[in-house]
């Protein structure tokens, strides 16, 4: 199962990188989002996969009876999802604002902060 998921992770990375190589902000954003999901899935796979045995200790015992699923990767993935979700929400607003103000989502056209053909600094008094 880990092997199969590794392939899925690979495909995700490939798609994400392809999208991020685009010039348009919206595609880059989609790529970043898929990139985040690829990483989440790879964390999940890195924690080794077990079939649905929740890591809960029965009330009478002090240690779990059988081998359970590893809860840590789930906690990590959840944290990572929360963070990437909030960053993505912010990026979406930012990109939308930038598109409205600058009138383009083409990164080649976004040269307001670094204008082309700036004059050289003065070379003497």
């Amino acid at each position: 199962m880990e092997v199969a998921l590794s392939f899925v992770v690979g495909v995700f990375f490939a798609v994400a990188i392809y999208l991020m190589l685009s010039k348009h902000i919206i595609r880059i954003l989609l790529g970043v989002s898929i990139f985040g999901n690829a990483v989440n899935l790879s964390i999940f796979t890195a924690g080794r996969l077990t079939r649905e045995v929740p890591p809960i200790i029965p009330e009478a015992l002090q240690t779990p009876e059988v081998a359970t699923a590893n809860p840590l990767p789930q906690a990590l993935v959840l944290t990572a999802i929360v963070i990437s979700f909030s960053l993505f929400a912010f990026l979406l607003v930012l990109a939308f604002r930038a598109y409205q103000e600058l009138g383009t989502d083409d990164t080649d056209g976004m040269r307001v902060a670094e204008p082309e053909g700036e004059p050289m600094p003065p070379l003497g008094y």
């Binding site: 959840l78 929360v82 909030s86 929400a89 912010f90 979406l92 607003v93 939308f96 604002r97 409205q100």
Partner: protein, 139 residues
């Protein structure tokens, strides 16, 4: 999007969703659920209300500014971590207290208050993002 049907249904849908989000928040104590997902449900409820009836009714109904709600949630979460100073245990240790409300025993813990903090942070910040986007679209 502002059809008559949607506008009529939206307030009820929103209140139901907010109620459900509180249920999910409290359920997260022992079962799937919790502050984050609860906060997301509540935020999407207000987003729906905003889509149906416009942004200013949402702001009026929230009364507090979304970022202030977020700040309050952060404060609640931080305080439930700092409470361990008093008990000589490390930061963020879960502290429990049993109280009896009308004869029903209730376990209160700092974990629960941390989760409520998370709920408010998520509700506040996602709602403010959603409202900002909706404002741009209509305004």
């Amino acid at each position: 999007m502002r059809t008559l049907i949607f506008r009529t249904v939206a307030p009820y849908l929103t209140s139901l969703m907010v109620l459900f989000s509180v249920f999910v928040l409290l359920r997260g104590h022992n079962e799937p659920g919790g502050g984050f997902i609860g906060g997301l449900i509540a935020a999407s409820a207000f987003a729906i209300y905003g889509v149906a009836c416009g942004v200013s009714p949402v702001r009026r109904s929230l009364y507090f500014h979304p970022m202030a709600i977020s700040g309050f949630g952060l404060l609640v979460a931080a305080i439930s971590g700092w409470l361990s100073v008093v008990f000589n245990v490390p930061f963020m240790t879960g502290l429990w207290i049993k109280v009896s409300v009308l004869g029903v025993p209730v376990d209160l813990s700092t974990v629960l208050f941390f989760d409520i903090g998370v709920y408010l942070v998520v509700l506040g910040s996602i709602t403010s993002v959603a409202l900002a986007l909706e404002e741009r679209e209509h305004g």
